[in-house]
Symmetry: C2
Amino acid sequence: MDPVAIFRALGQQSRYALFIDLLRANGTSCCAEIAPEESACCVIDFTQRHRLAQSTISHHLQVLVDAQLVEVERRGTYQVYQVNQETWTAFQRHVAVLTQDQPMAIGRRLQL
Amino acid sequence: MDPVAIFRALGQQSRYALFIDLLRANGTSCCAEIAPEESACCVIDFTQRHRLAQSTISHHLQVLVDAQLVEVERRGTYQVYQVNQETWTAFQRHVAVLTQDQPMAIGRRLQL
DNA sequence: TTACAATATCGATTGATATCGATGAATTGG
DNA sequence: CCAATTCATCGATATCAATCGATATTGTAA
């Protein structure tokens, strides 16, 4: 899990929108290979919801995959994209613990 | 709080490193205007800990300030940089709640 | 095996970004 | 007021990134 790669991948409007879309995709896919309870999309789903050329969408998805934020799996003629839960959860934790050190009381030092 | 601007600001090695440095800066400043219990840095602190030209560091700090991740305050001849806790906390919360919708059981629907 | 549908890849263009050295502006101490 | 210190801004350069249309690839169905 490379946090900088993840920040970079999400630090762009189009890609951020694609990722949010994928997180909230339950039951929205046009693709028969995707069950309604799956939060998953094929490329066509994205092209219908975003004003971007198909090639641009494929490119952005590849960036998300490279950052390991998203996984892709072939089902027939479709490529099915899903959030990589392991990476995303790890990233959420990473952000959550990124806080200023609390001034430690004597007697509690070095107990990290 | 613009999440994409924050992702973008942290999606670059040098800037990410500066931000982490600032979060963990307690008692490390060379600047007499900064108390040891403050997590704060002047530009000189950054130049001593990162292999970047001073102008580059100032540029990156400006990007962090523009994203409202960092605040700056003049103290005498120094500019003192600190994490903007309000923005950072809001961003942490934003990331934390960005998860896949759970399939809801009947009887629990609409109770968000 | 051919044709079609879905998607990736390629090449080009335009614009943004990271970095540096040099210089300018603000603040304080003498 | 002058000099020194701290820092921002400027101008230049080189690299990277976003986007598109066109084309290639892959898998399936007729």
